[in-house]
């Protein structure tokens, strides 16, 4: 039986490519039917804000995010503490087609997986 996989997204978008390359890896897993659970934590929660990176000549990461539900990732997990620590109002976080699940205890959540990919 295949392992259960969690993708942990901890980095803000655009400053470096970890955010983008993380999302690309997640979609690649899902395309191979190894559908990972996804948890945004730390600066990774910034990936869930509205974006418009034309002014810095980047493609929007929102496109990659929005592809997730189409690939069968229908729940997106978000660390509640990370959101609060950054002063983000939870209603500004959204992703069409996906349910955002705020987690109070990320440690208990992480424990249940066989493998964790960190980005």
């Amino acid at each position: 039986m295949a392992n259960s996989i969690l993708a942990l997204c901890r980095h803000a978008p655009y400053g470096n490519t970890l955010a983008r390359e993380g999302l690309e890896a997640i979609l690649a897993c899902a395309a191979m039917d190894q559908i990972p659970a996804v948890l945004f934590t730390g600066d990774g929660v910034y990936q869930l804000l509205e974006q418009d990176p034309q002014a810095i000549n980047e493609k929007s990461l929102r496109r990659n995010l929005q592809a997730m539900p189409m690939f069968g990732i229908e729940q997106i997990h978000v660390c509640e503490k990370s959101v609060a620590a950054r002063g983000i109002a939870t209603d500004t976080l959204q992703l069409a087609g996906a349910e955002l699940v705020l987690l109070a205890d990320t440690g208990a959540f992480i424990r249940d997986f066989d493998q964790v990919l960190s980005f």
């Binding site: 392992n3 390359e21 690309e24 690649a28 191979m32 493998q115």
Partner: protein
């Protein structure tokens, strides 16, 4: 037990690449198998045939290559991450009309599906940050 290693760090730039190599050596020495080493993000530079560190610094490339030969290691470099960063095989250089290739012997380019597959079937997956 079968391990998969994911390497995010470029050699001679962050310590993660060297740490991954030491871990790989210890894993094999303990009698475990390495299902795949997947080089991603800046880690793709580990597969550069052109790195020329000073004589008195460690030769990470040579060490990966001899480990690969001795244990038939699967050293897979993510092709998308490599293209962005200018790491190309002969056939990729031709296809993209670039003047030269620089992928080292012992490494092969492949898609992210190889990471997904390794995560699904290995007993343990461990990442080495950049």
């Amino acid at each position: 037990m079968q391990f998969t290693l994911v390497v995010y760090g470029a050699p001679h730039s962050s310590e993660g690449a060297a740490t991954a190599l030491r871990f790989a050596q210890a894993t094999l020495a303990a009698g475990h198998g390495i299902y795949r080493v997947f080089f991603y993000a800046d880690g793709v530079h580990n597969g550069s045939a052109l790195a020329a560190p000073p004589q008195d610094e460690q030769d990470l490339l040579g060490q990966w290559q001899s480990l690969q030969q001795d244990h038939a290691l699967d050293l897979t470099v993510c092709i998308a991450a490599a293209q962005r960063r200018g790491l190309l095989s002969e056939s990729e250089a031709n296809r993209l009309e670039k003047p030269s290739a620089n992928l080292a012997a012992g490494f092969s380019l492949a898609g992210l599906g190889q990471l997904a597959e390794a995560a699904a079937v290995s007993d343990r997956l461990i990442s080495f940050g950049g």
